[in-house]
């Protein structure tokens, strides 16, 4: 789930308000998950700190507990580590020296970007040293002709996008957390977002990567070429491995041209079957100008209309879609969109809708979709799942979970990226209950596996899901992953307890 950062402050203050504790800190991960044991790592001592101070100076080593607190808690306040050291390197060389030192002294390290992850991957589980990329935020080069931007890992996605837009380019990914997430974190988690349908995932648009291995070796694969078939494609190992194989320090990303014409339609539909038909039509009729194709069910829309008091500009329907086009010629896009809308209306697969290119109304329509995550928090406790499924089965989990939970759940809703086959399934309950959890898990993963889906589409595995990856990956595949991990990080210092099952 990609949460709009601009609303993070509201969201965090909301959680604070709701908390009955005098301090709103979540329980320490080590206490909430007593089965997870701290690995055989060294504990931080003064000698270690002295080394870091010598390397980075006083200001870029945080060791005061209050300074470290925000680096220990994840965005949704679900997990909390107790790291006593946050390091803020500014160069690849510093990252290399830090890792080399930590590897020699068996100090575990948790790499962290904007800390917007939703699966607990970006914060320490125990006392791992936090290596924050936030000060590595230089843009190295932008090639106006090829559109390639080369930058350091700590650049904030939105800042990069702003700079590129001034040059008629844009970042190939857009997600709710863009105001604070770092490009290094995006790449390390293979972040998806609202326009993956159009621009593809990061395995395609990241052309090159520079990363540092656990032993401090710098792996320079910072190619800016679109085509480069020399040897094994190592960059892919660092895309989506969540900092467990190395720390990404620089990236080269292909930025597409900024669209000159944008249109947005909100559609009301009577069935999920109609959504599939509309998606198929959108692909065929809008083809290269289709830039986003999202769906939400009535219970998801209700979240924003009842909790956040947003107004839907169309009537009530069981399903809704948001279809966006971006192109280079307004007239051309308008013609295509018109033909598409007439087609789906004539065939009776879309019942009602509105279309606009006025920025204010486009924002209002996007809010209906993007603010669901925030609105859901008003429901109480949430079981959140981020699942990929073959498109025909996209919505299958929602009615199944609804039936299984009956009155236990106050809401079972589904929304997401229909074009990518990625649904966000949310089960709302008034408050957490282990009995309900047992009804939901592992059933929801088993069901996903039955449909040959993935239990983590775009959020990653992080700390929360390693026990479940076998639902989506074979034993041999997991075994090869473990071999790779052992080879690249023999001491297991990089982001331990994450991604791979123990």
């Amino acid at each position: 789930m990609l949460v709009n950062f601009k609303r993070v402050t509201t969201l965090v203050s909301f959680i604070r308000r709701c908390s009955t504790l005098s301090k709103s800190l979540p329980e320490l991960t080590k206490d909430r998950y007593p089965n997870i044991k701290r690995g055989d790592y060294a504990e931080l001592n003064q000698n270690h700190l002295d080394y870091f101070h010598g390397l980075l100076g006083q200001n870029r080593v945080l060791s005061d507990p209050s300074d470290c607190e925000m680096y220990n808690i994840d965005f949704i306040k679900g997990v909390r580590g107790y790291s006593q050291c946050v390091l803020k390197p500014q160069t690849t060389e510093e990252v290399s020296k830090i890792l080399s030192f930590c590897n020699q002294h068996r100090l575990a390290v948790c790499p962290q970007g904007g800390n917007t992850g939703l699966v607990g991957g970006s914060v320490p589980v125990f006392d791992e040293i936090v290596l924050s990329t936030s000060l590595m935020n230089n843009i190295i080069s932008i090639d106006n002709i090829s559109g390639v931007v080369v930058c350091e890992a700590g650049c904030i996605l939105e800042s990069l996008d702003d700079v590129l837009r001034e040059k008629g380019l844009m970042m190939p990914l857009d997600l709710g957390a863009k105001g604070s997430c770092n490009i290094g974190g995006n790449v390390s988690t293979n972040a998806g977002g609202l326009r993956l349908l159009r621009y593809g995932n990061l395995h395609g648009s990241v052309l090159g990567i520079e990363a540092v291995k656990a032993n401090g070796d710098v792996i320079d694969c910072l190619s800016t070429l679109k085509k480069d078939n020399t040897g094994y494609h190592l960059k892919h190992l660092f895309i989506g491995s969540e900092g467990t194989l190395g720390i990404v320090t620089k990236v080269a990303v292909h930025g597409p041209s900024k669209p000159k014409s944008l249109n947005l339609a909100l559609l009301g539909l009577h069935s999920f079957e109609n959504i599939l038909q509309t998606y198929e039509r959108a692909k065929n009729d809008l083809s290269e100008i289709l830039s986003s194709c999202e769906m939400m069910d009535e219970r998801s829309l209700d979240v924003v209309t009842s909790h956040l008091k947003l107004k839907s500009p169309i009537g009530d329907f069981p399903f809704y879609m948001v279809v966006e086009t971006s192109g280079s010629n307004e007239k051309h896009d308008e013609e295509k969109l018109n033909a598409f809308l007439e087609g789906v209306m004539s065939e009776g697969i879309v019942a009602d809708g509105t279309v606009t290119n006025e920025p204010g109304k486009m924002r209002a329509i996007w809010d209906l979709r993007e603010r669901i995550t925030e609105g859901l928090l008003h429901d109480g406790y949430l079981f959140k799942y981020d699942i990929s499924l073959p498109i025909k089965e996209f919505y299958s989990l929602v009615p199944k979970m609804k039936e299984r939970l009956g009155s236990d759940a106050s809401r079972v809703s589904g929304y997401g990226h229909i074009g990518d086959g990625n649904i966000h399934l949310n089960i709302s309950v008034p408050e957490f209950s282990p009995d309900i959890l047992k009804k939901v898990e592992p059933y929801v993963y088993e069901l996903t596996s039955t449909y040959k889906g993935s239990i983590s589409a775009e959020h990653g595995v992080g700390f929360r899901k390693p026990p479940y990856i076998h639902y989506s990956k074979s034993e041999n595949a997991i075994s090869l992953m473990k071999d790779l991990k052992k080879m690249m990080d023999p001491n297991g210092i990089l982001n331990p307890y994450k991604v791979l099952p123990s």
Partner: protein, 207 residues
């Protein structure tokens, strides 16, 4: 679900006219039977389907409600082209909305099909402060070869009649003129699209 077999004709009806003349209210009155007080300006284009019955045949009206305000209208022009009927609306209590009619006609002539059915509607006859006498509207319509009707979305006066008249006339025109596009199941259904749909609730919901 409405499959193509459920109806005999499908017509596209587009409403145009100055901001605030009551286009959205006419549509809401007709499709939902309500009059929304304090209706905000339409931005872009809203579209909806309403199924009506004419001589025991089901006719689907695809209604496109466009923005009256210039700054919200940039994507509306292409919506004229395939329209079967254009409803040009003015407010009988607001002279400037009537004075703009020639501008709207120029736009219609530029973008719409020459065969389009054109209807002039003077809305808000519930109001006491009428500025445009009925005969002035009638006269304008006659000179420009348009049907004419005065309505009140608020009092539900002539609204049903307006859309039913359009449906009936278009059916007659269609029966005479084979050139106009026909939306019959046998001709426009794309294979496989509707075969698996079986729910029959949508038409009843929409009517």
């Amino acid at each position: 679900m409405c499959t193509m077999e459920d109806f005999k004709f499908l017509f596209k009806v587009v409403l145009v006219g100055n901001a605030g003349v009551g286009k959205t209210c006419l549509v809401r009155r007709f499709t939902q039977g309500l009059f929304p007080p304090g209706q905000g300006a339409t931005i872009g284009v809203d579209f909806m389907i309403k199924t009506v019955e004419v001589d025991n045949d089901k006719v689907k009206l695809q209604i496109w409600d466009t923005a009256g305000q210039e700054r919200f209208r940039s994507i509306t022009q292409s919506y004229y082209r395939s329209a079967h009927a254009l409803i040009l609306v003015y407010d009988i209590s607001c002279q400037p909305t009537f004075d703009c009619l020639p501008d709207w006609l120029r736009e219609i002539e530029e973008y719409a099909s020459s065969k389009v059915l054109r209807i002039l509607v003077g809305n808000k006859i519930d109001r006491e402060d009428r500025e445009i006498p009925t005969f002035v509207g009638e006269d304008f319509a006659a000179r420009h070869n348009m049907y004419f009707l005065e309505t009140s979305a608020k009092e539900a006066e002539n609204v049903e009649k307006l859309f039913m008249k359009i449906a009936e006339d278009l059916m007659q025109v269609q029966a005479k003129n084979k050139d106009l596009p026909r939306y019959e199941s046998s001709t426009t259904n794309i294979s496989g699209r509707t075969s698996s749909v079986s729910d029959s609730s949508c038409c009843s919901k929409l009517t």
